[in-house]
Amino acid sequence: MSLLFKSREAQTTSQNKSVFLQVYFFVITVLRQGVNSLGEMWRTPMASMMTILVLGLSLTLPATLYIVVKNVQQVSSGFNDAAEISLFVKESMSEQQTQTLAKRLALYPEVADVKLISKSQALDEFKRISGFGQALDYLEENPLPNVVLVTPTDRYRKPQAAQQLLDKLEKEREVEFGKLDIEWLERLNALLSLLKESVVTIALLLLSAVILIIGNTIRLSIMDKKEEIQVLKLVGATNTFIHTPFIWTGIWYGIVGGLVAFISVALMLWWLESAVSMVAGVYQSSFVLQGLNLNELMILLLLAITLGFGGSFLSVHRYIKDIEPDKV
């Protein structure tokens, strides 16, 4: 591509190149620069290692926090039936009326399931569990009310929605009052959302640190190659040509840093696994510690690559334009 000498076109390699071929050669050049910059990192292993480890650790922390949130959510999702609503039926209502109530409630769109516990069932259960056993036989009549257990649909299991549903159900004429033990659920949910939000904040801070680390590493490497950049500019290299190797370096840092983070998370989980299963055993829970799955690994890598690209992009655009060949 000759700007000044049109007749030169004929002798340079750009002759008769179709757009497709030009794009092809451009891609080949960019890929070749990518391989070269990987080779260059390989030639300075110590410096590259340090940066990669710092990046790896900076990415490990948010990944770990993410795993904590994920596992806590897994645990708390087992507490769904906590949002069960107990409706105590008025004493004046007969068995028949209670059953129609249960049938009616089952038709509510907010209700997933309805279970009727009659007075006698409740009393049997109470005898069995409480240990008062025979003492209860002395009662002249059953003091327990009929109870309808209502399980709301998913949407109505959240504390606020469940409360609204409770208010609605209490308006039923057969219902004495209803009960929803949601206070502890509210607390748990509040804690969870606090945890999630702090994780997001900490992750954002650490990810900005990653951008800055990569940006600074690339800046140092640009300063180190000042002479080379000047010469490249003198012999007619475009900005794209000069920028690409540095961008690649940032991307490689991202990829390797992301892998380091993945490996350290995996190691940490492996280390914690036996301790966790012991705790789960004590609580008679079938809880299994969840690690990063393939999708999440891909997201982690993609994020790391994006950060690597972002950091090097910022540095390259900020610092390379200042390096001009001012001495002929």
Binding site: L4, V231, L232, L234, G236, A237, T238, K327
Partner: protein, 225 residues
């Protein structure tokens, strides 16, 4: 090939490096650019390679006004100009082959064409046997010739040289100048900035003299009139 039309260059801070310089270098011409140090030789070369922009006036290469060249287009201007430096500016990280191949790699030329051209360029400067050496293992004269090979490897129609013989003894200087003469015979326009007046005297080429930023009378041009 090169035409300066009333070109002035004032650096920030008020230093006037060039004042209303006008001259013309024909196609395939070889000329010397002389003057005391600080006379504006380097500035003049920088204006041709668009490292600096003129404060006033126009610089033309092959009829194209460089004022109309955008910053993005500068690399493509430089690909048409071979530039040779006093301190040769080779990249120490690469060997001779890679240094000379640089302008071709930048153009995205295919590998096998690159090898052919690099060998041809090194052959011209007589360093074909040093193709795999590191620049630092070469003598000053050899390094300078590698720099020249890099400048001519993509056969630019215009060669600029800034004090190409500055660090060399007279014998080596003569060799380098012979190289330039050779390229010139093949049609390349050459402009050599030097303060080595003895060298110029031994060769009968046109010489442009700068004095405190002004172009002195050009004896050859006068003779032509």
């Amino acid at each position: 090939m090169i035409k300066f039309d009333q070109v002035s260059k004032t650096y920030p801070g008020g230093h006037r490096a060039l004042e209303k310089v006008s001259f013309e270098l024909g196609n395939g011409e070889l000329a010397f650019l002389t003057g005391h140090s600080g006379a504006g030789k380097s500035t003049l070369l920088k204006l041709i390679s668009v490292m600096e922009r003129p404060s006033a006036g126009h610089v033309f290469i092959n009829g194209v006004d460089l004022n109309g060249v955008s910053n993005r287009q500068i690399p493509f201007v430089r690909r048409d100009i071979g530039i040779i430096f006093q301190n040769h500016r080779l990249l120490e990280r690469y060997n001779v082959f890679d240094n000379v191949a640089l302008p071709l790699v930048i153009e995205g030329m295919h590998h096998k064409h690159i090898a052919k051209r690099v060998h041809a360029a090194l052959d011209k400067v007589g360093l074909l046997d040093k193709v795999r050496c590191q620049p630092s293992t070469l003598s000053g004269g050899e390094q300078q010739r590698v720099g020249i090979a890099r400048a001519i490897v993509n056969s630019p129609p215009l060669l600029l040289a800034d004090e190409p013989t500055g660090n060399l003894d007279p014998e080596l200087s003569m060799e380098i100048l012979k190289l330039f003469e050779d390229f010139n015979r093949h049609g390349t326009a050459v402009l050599i900035a030097t303060h080595d007046l003895g060298l110029i005297a031994r060769m009968k080429y046109r010489s442009l003299t700068l004095n405190h930023g002004r172009m002195s009378q050009d004896p050859l041009m006068e003779g032509g009139l």
